[in-house]
Symmetry: C2
Subunit: 305 residues, 2 copies
């Protein structure tokens, strides 16, 4: 199951970093975009080709160093069908290289529609006489709880049936997360309410380490809240966005993990892959490897591992 697999990879590599794959063609090295533009011109096909060329090399470099990658589907979708083909190829390639693949899609809808989303992101789709997987290689997806518990149930059912994972948004990393998530519902906040749903779902099925496939998104920008949420959701892995570009630091990261240094994975996207934006030269992969090793070490140091 997802939780076991992710923890196995974390322990195997002694690494708690997830590399976000959020391509922006204007920041991809020109050596790659030139190749794509020569073949396809100024088109979405060229964008898709450049994205996969880039992601493949990034994956090759980071696969020995991290347990997971997280493609954010918005950055592929904006390049149309060629962008989504690059997404599909990225997911499959990352999986082949032994990485856990977390899709950041933040889907959420009424029950029948949520079930269709669940088919796509961790489940499978009924065709005429067979069941097939729309984007093979997906281990896990992020989900938005705004529509209520009945909108989450189909995702939880999918998780139980397929062993795939969910990260339900509990406290997002952006400043605006205060607007609704911090709002008080009498004795508790919206974030605490959703955390209690996650804890209830999570308790339904645990692995040998005591963890569930039903996890939570908790922003790196709110380490004090993380301490409270860690207690409130003892069986859930946290996906922690917001390090670096969004302002989250290393010092509070201990609050997101359990005593054994498990129970969380820290995401960094731009800070790893685009610290040199669109610069020329052949050393861009060395820079990405350096950024990765540094972030892995800083996280481990912050939690004493």
């Amino acid at each position: 199951m997802f939780a076991t697999l992710l923890h196995d990879k974390i322990l195997e590599k002694n690494s708690r970093l997830c590399v976000g794959l959020d391509p922006r063609i204007e920041w991809i090295p020109t050596s790659l975009t030139d190749t794509a533009r020569q073949e396809f011109g100024d088109t979405f096909d060229a964008a898709g080709a450049a994205i996969f060329l880039f992601n493949k090399q990034v994956i090759d470099r980071v696969a020995p160093l991290v347990p997971a990658v997280k493609p954010q589907i918005a950055f592929y979708e904006q390049y149309g069908i060629p962008g989504l083909i690059a997404f599909q190829k990225t997911v499959a390639y990352a999986k082949e290289q032994g990485l856990v693949v977390i899709i950041d899609a933040k889907r959420g809808d009424i029950d029948s529609t949520a079930a269709a989303y669940a088919n796509t992101f961790g489940g499978s789709t009924q065709l005429f006489g067979s069941e097939q997987t729309a984007f093979p290689g997906i281990d896990c997806v992020t989900v938005n709880p705004f529509l209520g518990k009945d909108s989450l149930d189909p995702f939880v059912e999918m998780s139980h049936n397929y062993g795939s994972g969910l990260f339900i948004l509990v406290k997002t990393s952006n400043p605006g997360s205060k607007d609704l998530q911090d709002s008080s519902l009498g004795e508790r906040t919206v974030t605490q309410e959703v955390a209690d749903w996650v804890a209830a779902y999570a308790s339904e099925k645990l692995d040998d380490r005591g963890y569930s496939n039903i996890g939570a998104v908790v922003g790196a920008t709110f380490p004090e809240e993380a301490r409270m949420l860690r207690e409130r959701m003892p069986h859930s892995i946290f996906l922690v966005p917001g390090l670096g570009s969004q302002g989250g630091g290393y010092e509070g990261l201990g609050n997101f993990f359990d005593q054994e240094g498990l129970g969380a994975v820290i995401n960094s996207s731009r800070g790893i892959t685009f610290s040199q934006r669109g610069e020329e030269g052949s050393d861009w992969l060395d820079i990405i490897e350096h950024n990765t090793r540094e972030a892995v070490a800083n996280i481990n140091q912050a939690i004493g591992k």
Copy 2:
């Protein structure tokens, strides 16, 4: 701009029905799926081909009768790249037939990611030397406010720049909408709070009828709340899901409209396109036309138009 276009179409056709295009291959007439399966076998390609064959004929039949269609992207995405190609072709074809195209995607994310989603659903994408549209023909998209105001700003900016529309989730049609949306934040509910954001965004830019491109999703299943929300968001068009299959009736629909019978569009998906699920025979289009005419008339009767 979007609001003007939608109202023009409503008045031209004296019709306030939006036909939801939520394909399920198991309910598409076998005459169409057989054609697709003969060419492509039991594959996603066959599913995509059957979906577009179906949608094209539905669009031809309903285009004279309704102002808008609403593809729900989950039902395309689950059929992988071929499903998304069918989505792309459906959007373009509906637009060519003079329909307003509302995409139900319920996207929402932190600012930079929200901007990428906005590029896809109503904006355009910067390529190497040009700006291009990932899915041409999209007029409007549904958006989820859970991440807060800063997650909505990029969509509102896109709307201002491109004249496209937004429907922000205010009160969804499902029973679970009570869980968070009805929660009390002291003096008002989450729904009322989000309604006030929508009203503030909407007041920034109005058309000659006094309507904005920033609309709201308000479920047909909650007509009493609609009365309060209609007053709270006087400049916003309501997208109203939940008629029929989800339990919403015609009797309360007057609460969603303004005095002139504008300001709302009522969606029906399964009730229009799949009342005969997968039945054989050549009369399925007649049934869809009958369902459409009946729903249009019932809505007009309910609001005295």
